[in-house]
Chain length 442, copies 2
């Protein structure tokens, strides 16, 4: 099995100290110098929040046309003559379903077009299954114990949601091909209390890993012990590429269908990081019993989601090829930011294996691993210097990184200049934390 550790040894820039080669006395000498630098930086009152994957204002400006609008009624009539200002249309405008179908390759009739949050749609699905059960199965909450598989590191909000619902989480190790499928198959086929699995299949949060074809096929072939097991397929970064030839993700829906497993996956998409995070459109796609049940559940919850915002998005994003052009503009803004971080990391740690990192081809994060037991200390030290990172451990179930080494860096919001300053701080704290660990100072 491949591991997710990047091999940094090939880099040519190797003029920085390799701390792993120092003895304790040498480390102590270096430490004094680092602490001096730390104190200098402390006085500079730097302040930056790099904790969340937020688009920058410049990215939001790309969608300013979305908010240019004219209130005349004639602008808000859908293809089927529905006045979108009024009540109705529970599961989304037909043209919006067509649009997302064209962009994802999934049949239009599989979609429920939601409000501004795909997270809410995941929450709604779990709530529904907790109270009503999946299909005719016993409600999850009335079963003795239920568990979700959680590829880790993963998305903190997925894990917090499980904890909120009292769902026990089983961490699954991530490889460069996606979750460790041997472990997934073993567990899912034997333990009928396992009811779900979180997947961020393209540019996984935070590692940026794209599930390989083999991984997708093995997931689509799962024979769960629990008939009410579901894949929560959060394809948050489906068009969020940073390269010319982006990796392709196999379509889980058709792979499942081919195997008579079409009830397995619930797919989630959103425009939050395409247009506006505060005012985007979310999508849920699923088939048959899932679709019937979740649509029916929504029919008691709402008369319909915001159709005006659906039309707004259609007028702006238009179609698949326009969406691609729009995403290229995002890439133009954020790729240099990813590069700034990667370059800083290479510069500092290419020959200093106290830190490894991923080089994602898309998505919103760079994931780094410190030496064991250093991540929390790094985040604490950064905070002292005014740099707010995602809490160490947040990328693991229950907020507990067993090796205390993973840190998620979010490059998109700050300016390049801010990122440069931030990486100076970050690199320094990584070295300080490493020496402290070696010398058992903390």
């Amino acid at each position: 099995m491949k591991t997710i550790q990047t091999d940094n040894s090939k880099s040519s820039k190797s003029y920085k100290e390799n701390l792993t080669l120092y003895d304790n006395a040498g480390l102590a000498r270096l430490y004094n110098g680092y602490i001096e630098k730390f104190k200098k930086l402390e006085s500079k009152k730097f302040k930056l929040d790099m904790s969340r994957g937020k688009p920058s204002p410049k990215q939001l400006d790309l969608s300013s046309e979305l908010l240019n609008s004219d209130g005349d009624a004639s602008n808000w009539i859908s293809e089927d003559k529905t006045d979108c200002r009024n009540y109705g249309i529970l599961d989304g405008l037909p043209e919006m379903k067509k649009f997302i179908s064209e962009c994802t390759g999934i049949d239009a009739e599989c979609f429920i077009v939601g409000g501004n949050s795909s997270l809410s749609m995941m929450f709604d699905a779990i709530s529904c299954f907790m109270i009503h059960g999946v299909g005719n199965n016993t409600p999850w909450i009335k079963q003795e114990k239920i568990k979700f598989l959680c590829p880790s590191p993963g998305y903190d909000r997925h894990f917090e949601m499980c904890e909120h619902f009292g769902i026990e989480m089983i961490p699954i190790e991530m490889t460069l091909d996606g979750p460790d499928m041997d472990m997934v198959e073993e567990l899912v086929s034997k333990d009928s209390s396992i009811k779900g699995m979180w997947c961020v299949p393209k540019y996984s949060n935070p590692d940026g890993i794209v599930y390989s074809d083999d991984t997708v096929r093995r997931l689509a072939s799962l024979k769960p012990a629990a008939s009410d097991f579901r894949l929560f397929w959060d394809n948050a970064y489906f068009v969020h590429d940073l390269t010319d030839n982006p990796p392709k993700l196999l379509d889980i829906m058709s792979e499942c269908e081919r195997r008579g497993n079409e009830e397995l996956p619930l797919l989630f998409f959103s425009t939050s990081k395409i247009t506006l995070p505060g005012a985007g459109v979310a999508f849920l796609a699923c088939k048959k019993g899932n679709y019937f049940q979740l649509r029916n559940n929504y029919s008691f919850k709402t008369v319909g989601f915001d159709k005006i915002n659906q039309l707004r998005h259609l007028k702006f994003l238009k179609n698949r090829s326009e969406l691609k052009k729009h995403m290229a503009k995002h890439r133009e803004i954020i790729k240099p930011k990813f590069d700034t971080i990667i370059e800083a990391l290479k510069d500092e740690f290419s020959s200093n294996p106290i830190l490894t990192w991923t080089e994602p081809k898309g998505g919103y994060f760079i994931s780094v691993n410190t030496a064991k037991g250093c991540a929390k200390r790094v985040v604490t030290l950064c905070k002292k210097l005014g740099l707010n990172l995602t809490s160490a451990g947040a990328t693991y179930p229950y907020g507990k990184d067993p090796l205390d080494r993973n840190i998620r860096l979010a490059p998109t919001f700050p300016s390049t200049k801010e990122l440069e300053a931030a990486m100076g701080i970050f690199s320094l704290t990584v070295k300080i934390a490493y020496i402290e660990k070696r010398l058992s100072l903390f």
Copy 2:
């Protein structure tokens, strides 16, 4: 106890037949004439949907300015400098809370500003209580049986929601002062399986009744046997007046607080029938433990609701006095429609007590009662003539009107001309159904 039957005897227009005075032979003669009229109308292929309380296009046009907007970033910054296009602000913009506080008289910090649907916020609250329990109480779903009090006739979507969650409904008779409080007090104080009560306290759906001060005070004074009992106070029509001196509803929140009962009520408001039903803003107001729990629940469900739409509404509705002016424009459009229906009813049934009705001072409906056992037949006959009414029974729990007599009329969507035609159809079918009942033809 006052009843909700209107006394029609005072009307001067009494030239129409009083069918209650006819003997069977006389009714049979009239019936033949009515059936002839019915057949003529059948051939006219009339088509109108009066089933839901939908604003008319003209009413929606009142808010066209809401959709006039400019995408420039500077327009979408909140008072506290938040870029509303981006993630964040879970419980609503401070200025939006101030606005709704000014309009409702409830403290700003009690509010969670939601998405486009207050119904969703009711659903979310019930979901939360089902799964997690109210505060530290046992989850509703894990208690043997739970029940809600349902003032009836009432809002069909409230009742359907209860049914969806498996909550047993106990109908409570409505009086001109609101729900029968003797019964409410008796039940709530003795039966600890009663966990909630639906209230549409102003212009109740469908009767248009405003809860009297005494009713509100008695509700605020309830001493429920269940510590996890909550009032679901759906104040959907809080500014939806149709008269110059609208009746005032006592503030349930302060009445509850005065009695140390501030955990009792959950209040819901929305702009659906103020601006756009498809794209409005919903509000939940509550205190202390409720607020903490429901806000916390939302923190796992979403990063935040659509703040852009909140700002849009603020720019448009501005403040309490502007809101009042805006609602006056709605009144100008819909009052004549209410009048058309009331006039038609007076004209046909003032001296013909086979139908009684309410004359609401606000809200969205006129509620009529046929003779016992006639409502379903009337709705069926209307449907045959192309007039779609709310299903008979829909205004009662489980869709079962025990006397089969209540029908909800929704005047707002059709034009006055359509309403006139619709009332001709309606009146005819009321008379046909009455005779059929008397003659046991159906």
